[in-house]
């Protein structure tokens, strides 16, 4: 009897595995990795390597200590590590990246039950904890040597907040030739990775399209003078394609995903326009992560022939 695994129906098998999906996500992040190397140099690769190593090691160490099976083979810690590194500026001291990785994996992911049980995106929560703890170094952005004059000492979002958004060169914003955290600058590289994920069927395009589209519309409604420049700046593409599409922390149904994307867009636009902070993608996704259980409840599918659930 011990050899049997009893589960409920439907008994559909699929060749798709967690490891395979995570491998696809890693492949999709390679263009952005190359872009970060081109713009910020070898230190970008160092930070990515440190974050990946610390995430994998701390997950293994925690699971050994807690006498749980070690899930390192599913590559999810590698994905979390790369995503966390994508959220860090290239000048960050290495020890801060180490602490951030450990907090991300142990506190945000493993203490809540590991893969599939975390209630917010671990990399984003780790980033916010680091942003609150290391206030100076987390905004000490690096700038590419060949950046345009307007972007050589300020991030695009701070230029837009200062009211000079209309002068920004859109192609530079799209290609990523400006300051910021490692993975967010190049919309082009992120778009290539995102399209790969969509073509491989790993993510559905609903959330990215709803998120980026609604951010644009809300920014325009709120009177932002350069909404196009604004959506090409900051972490919006990184967040929309890689963070807001995490299976565990997003709704199941297409309607739910649409609500999730629109909510993220609204919060991002509100923070960028009215709040004291220039960027709002992390908080938008984290806040929407928290109400995912409610969205799942509202958008539960009605079985055919029954009355709508009350």
């Amino acid at each position: 009897m011990n050899n049997l695994t009893v589960t409920s129906s439907p008994h559909i098998t699929s060749p798709r595995t967690t490891t395979g999906i995570m491998l696809d996500v890693i492949i999709a992040m390679v263009p952005a990795m190359i872009a970060s190397f081109l713009f910020f140099g070898a230190r970008a690769l160092l930070l990515i390597a440190v974050c990946v190593a610390c995430c994998v090691l701390s997950e293994a160490a925690y699971c050994l200590l807690a006498k749980k099976p070690v899930p390192v083979g599913d590559l999810s810690a590698v994905v979390t590590g790369v995503m966390l590194a994508f959220n860090l500026p290239a000048t960050l001291p290495v020890w801060q990246a180490v602490i951030g990785s450990i907090v991300t994996i142990v506190v945000v992911k493993q203490l809540f039950g590991g893969i599939g049980c975390n209630f917010v995106n671990p990399a984003l929560a780790g980033r916010v904890i680091m942003a609150v703890s290391f206030t100076g170094t987390m905004v000490n952005y690096a700038y590419p040597a060949q950046a345009a004059d307007a972007l050589s000492s300020a991030t695009p979002l701070s230029v837009i907040t200062a009211g000079n958004g209309a002068k920004l060169p859109l192609w530079d914003l799209f290609a990523g030739n400006h300051g910021g955290v490692l993975g967010e600058t190049s919309c082009l590289a992120l778009l290539i990775g995102g399209l790969y994920l969509i073509l491989r069927g790993v993510i559905k395009p609903i959330i990215p399209i709803a998120y980026i589209g609604s951010t644009f519309i809300f920014l325009a409604l709120f009177g932002c003078e350069a909404p196009l420049a604004s959506i090409l700046s900051g972490g919006l593409f990184l967040g929309a394609f890689f963070m807001a599409t995490d299976y565990t922390t997003t709704p199941y149904t297409n309607t739910g995903k649409l609500i999730f994307g629109l909510g993220c867009g609204l919060i991002t636009a509100v923070i960028r326009t009215f709040a004291n902070s220039t960027e709002g993608v992390s908080y938008a996704i984290l806040l929407m992560n928290l109400i995912v259980p409610y969205i799942n409840g509202w958008t539960r599918r009605k079985p055919y022939g029954t009355e709508a659930a009350k």
Partner: protein
């Protein structure tokens, strides 16, 4: 004698007011930013607890049942005013550090909770010892939390520098760090008590698993 001693140690571990009864959470989270603040807050609350427990116990047959809560609060407020004036006079720095949380000891759930659960039913000496135990438990917990948060969040312990400030993880001195430390301390004490063989959650008597078994009418049936 052993029974009297148990009244004191009870408040330190088995029924630690903060970590097992989960009372007085608000001052715990707010004041445990620094070890000194936590220690001072703990001592002030201990003083009030001992005095109010003794006064309420002595007056337990005089105070009419229907107005006991206002009567208790008045007594507690009297003692809080005394300790506040003493601290303002002799340690203005501590008064600055504790701020609004010093007068708020009046509404600290630990003090009213012990008045209602213990002092109103027990003789004066026992109530004083219970107040001492609970107060020491509160002080110990706040000081430990203060040490952890101050060390990681600011790099100091009792104001003495342990490592340079640039290596501090500042979120630990903010409210998320307070909740995090609080949760870890509860888990730690629960794990220690379980390891020592104390059965923490009873499945009988429709028990909700609250730690106040000693005074629970359901559990002692």
């Amino acid at each position: 004698m052993a029974k009297k001693l148990k009244l004191i140690t009870n408040g330190l571990f088995n029924e630690n007011p903060v970590l097992r009864l989960v009372l007085g959470t608000c001052p715990t989270l707010a004041i445990s930013v620094s070890a000194t603040g936590g220690f001072g807050m703990g001592l002030a609350a201990t003083f009030v607890l001992i005095c109010s427990n003794m006064a309420i116990s002595a007056l337990r047959k005089v105070i009419p049942d229907k107005v006991r809560i206002p009567a208790y609060i008045t007594l507690i407020a009297g003692f809080v005013t005394i300790i506040q004036m003493l601290i303002q006079a002799f340690s203005p720095e501590l008064d600055q550090m504790l701020g609004i949380y010093l007068p708020l000891i009046v509404v600290n759930c630990i003090i009213l909770g012990r008045a209602e659960m213990f002092a109103s039913k027990n003789p004066v000496l026992d109530s004083a010892l219970d107040g001492l135990g609970m107060g020491l438990g509160f002080t110990l917990t706040l000081t430990c939390m203060g040490i952890v948060r101050e060390l990681i969040g600011a790099g100091t312990v009792f104001g003495l520098r342990v490592f340079p400030e640039e290596y501090a993880i500042r979120i630990m001195t903010m409210s998320p760090g307070g909740f995090f430390t609080f949760g870890c301390m509860i888990a730690l004490l629960t794990a220690i008590l379980q390891k020592r063989g104390k059965k923490l959650i009873s499945s009988q008597n429709k028990c909700l698993g609250c730690p106040d078994c000693a005074h629970c009418e359901e559990a002692n049936k």
